[in-house]
């Protein structure tokens, strides 16, 4: 089966539009008849990733691949990168500023949730260059 590829641009300069790409991806997956549980897991993981791209980097792209096995996601940004990835993966760790936190972001649960809701998770980050997050959610468990 040929895979479906979709690309979404995440603008970094407009915080109020953060979450729109995840929402569009979710609706596409629903239309394809992807099982509801998978849609939910993808939606949560990609939402967290998208928000991170906006609040910790300056936007980027999200590539979605759908084939008969899984929904795969690649989130790329050219932001400042993460100095200590191990630390960033810990529950509750955040570098978010107070103004962002007052909006309910920055609980430090983004990356832990991405790990929790996906079947495969990889993060590659280079300080000064950017971050690439690759995630996979299997269609059948």
């Amino acid at each position: 089966m040929s895979a479906l590829e979709m690309r979404y641009e995440v603008p970094g300069n407009d915080f109020t539009r953060a979450g729109e790409a995840s929402s569009a991806i979710k609706n596409k997956l629903k239309q394809m008849g992807i099982p509801p549980g998978v849609v939910r897991n993808v939606a949560i993981a990609v939402y967290e990733g998208e928000i991170n791209m906006v609040i910790h980097a300056s936007g980027g792209t999200i590539d979605v691949f759908v084939d008969s096995d899984a929904v795969s996601l690649v989130l790329r940004d050219t932001g400042g990168g993460i100095p200590d990835v191990e630390l960033a993966m810990r529950e509750g760790y955040t570098t978010a500023k107070e103004d962002i936190r007052s909006l309910g972001f920055g609980a430090g649960m983004g990356i832990p949730n991405m790990i929790k809701y996906t079947d495969e998770f990889k993060i590659n980050s280079e300080v000064g260059k950017g971050t690439v997050v690759e995630m996979k959610v299997y269609l059948e468990k």
């Binding site: 089966m1 040929s2 895979a3 479906l4 979450g19 995840s22 929402s23 979710k26 596409k28 629903k30 239309q31 394809m32 008849g33 992807i34 509801p36 549980g37 849609v39 939910r40 939606a43 949560i44 939402y47 759908v66 008969s68 269609l139």
Partner: protein
């Protein structure tokens, strides 16, 4: 003094609502997509007013007439509000169906009380219903208070994890927050669009069904008649509740026999109400303070408040609730809820209509004024007039699982969906993105989907046709 007449034109006398003898006997197998909202194609001009307003993109204009895709329609009534030609109608049962039963029970919704001017006591409405020909009246507001009480307990049990206290056999939501099951339009929407939220739908039946069940039991004891001679008549504020009674989602069978419309009953009640009011209360069908009167007029503040937006949530006596009205906002909130954007919520009240049920398309009064009127009526009422005395009756819970219906899926298999999605994306690229509606679909994207599904012709876009004509004429000009 003109005390009860509503200044607004009763909608019953305008062609917007009709009561044709169209509901035949109930089918043993419910039509999952049975609807009350229908088109009068003689009146339809094929304009795009309804097309653009349908929140679920259920409408297409084909061959100059509007068509409703029944799998997508939730009977929200937006198209009825939008149609300037009154071609979209809510269908409901005729008042004449009263004659089909020996013992007739009216179930008035709280929104009915809000239709009358200067009404301070709902007993006047209840009385007039008896004068109109009903033998008994059971307030939906009274049943709503029972629903509130059961839900309060359910929230407490779910929050504390006291699962042993939860009812057996019913369909218990897996987790908080509980989403109200009272607006059938919302439940339908969840069942086709938000499968991940199905478990959150309240397992407690809607107040109107609670009222029907209680009223039937009371009538069986009081009259000794067989069930089929007893007619249960719900007076509905909206088409969604008409459809729900005829084709319920969470219960195997509804105890409602016929569904009338508030807009149809309102003008019939007025003369009786005036008469009763003029007689200084002498003309009542039940004595004030008698047992019969206490049985009929019993809803308190909590029940009456259910008629307006926020009323149901306020009856739960918790601060951790969300109350949303208006179908567009409801859809937005369901999307956010699905993405787990809310935390610590215990209850979610969702009303498809702005203002709540007082904003239904089958009511007469402006919803905002109606809400003020509800406040006047509830003013001197006890907090709650009804209480669960013994144990919760088993009929209070859903007895049928609400299944997800993937009606928005593009293809039958994932493979098919993927190739159709690609085709849709290609088609969208070629369309102008004006969402003008001239092709008969609400947006260019919807048109692309229709073409991919084989339901529409690629040449349907008039902008593409004009473009083609222009290139053609340029070509022929340059050849000259």
């Amino acid at each position: 003094m003109n005390i009860l007449d509503n200044k607004t034109m009763p909608r019953a006398s305008n062609p917007l609502s009709t009561a044709p003898p169209f509901f035949q006997s109930r089918k043993p197998e419910y039509d999952r997509f049975f609807h009350s909202v229908r088109l009068d194609s003689d009146l339809c001009k094929g304009c795009i007013n309804c097309l653009k307003r349908c929140p679920t993109q259920a409408i297409r204009v084909r061959d100059g007439k509007s068509q409703i895709t029944k799998e997508y329609c939730t009977d929200c009534g937006e198209c009825i509000r939008a149609c300037p030609h009154h071609a979209k109608k809510a269908t409901f049962d005729s008042f004449d169906t009263l004659s089909e039963y020996e013992y007739k029970i009216a179930l008035p919704p709280p929104s009915l009380y809000a239709q009358f001017n200067n009404l301070e006591e709902k007993s006047l409405v209840l009385n007039a219903l008896l004068s109109l020909g009903f033998d008994d009246v059971y307030e939906v507001a009274a049943a709503a208070e029972l629903v509130s009480e059961i839900t309060r307990k359910l929230i407490k049990d779910l929050a504390s994890g006291a699962r042993d206290n939860l009812p057996q056999g019913g369909f218990i939501p897996g987790s908080l927050p509980i989403i109200s099951s009272a607006c059938p339009c919302v439940v339908r929407l969840i069942s086709v669009k938000f499968p991940n939220l199905l478990d959150n739908i309240s397992p407690v039946i809607a107040p109107v069904e609670m009222a029907a069940n209680a009223a039937v039991r009371r009538a069986l004891i009081r009259t000794g008649l067989p069930r089929e001679k007893i007619g249960v008549f719900f007076i509905s504020p909206c088409p969604a509740k008409v459809a729900e009674a005829y084709s319920p989602l969470g219960i195997k069978e509804s105890q409602i026999d016929k569904v009338l419309a508030v807009s149809d009953i309102y003008p019939r009640l007025l003369p009786f109400m005036k008469e009763i009011a003029a007689s200084g209360g002498d003309m009542t069908s039940f004595d004030r303070g008698s047992e019969f009167s206490r049985e009929i007029d019993k809803a308190g503040r909590i029940g009456v408040s259910w008629g307006g937006h926020g009323g149901e949530a306020s009856g739960l006596l918790t601060d951790n609730y969300l109350a949303v009205d208006g179908i567009e906002s409801v859809i937005k909130s369901l999307e956010d809820l699905e993405d787990s954007k809310f935390t610590n919520l215990e209850f979610i009240e969702l009303n498809a209509c702005k203002g709540g049920c007082v904003g239904g398309v089958l009511v007469v009064e402006n919803p905002y004024i109606a809400k003020v009127k509800l406040n006047i009526i509830r003013k001197y009422l006890p907090v709650s007039g009804t209480h669960i005395n013994a144990s919760v009756p088993p009929y209070a819970y859903n007895n049928k699982k609400i299944e997800f219906q993937p009606v928005y899926r593009l293809g039958q298999t994932l493979e098919e969906s993927i190739s159709m999605m690609k085709r849709v994306d290609e088609l969208i690229e070629k369309l102008p993105g004006l969402d003008c509606g001239c092709c008969g679909a609400p947006t260019c994207a919807a048109n692309a989907e229709d073409v991919a599904k084989g339901l529409a012709d690629e040449k349907g876009c008039i902008h593409k046709r004009v473009e083609a004509l222009e290139t053609e004429s340029k070509l022929s000009n340059s050849q000259r």
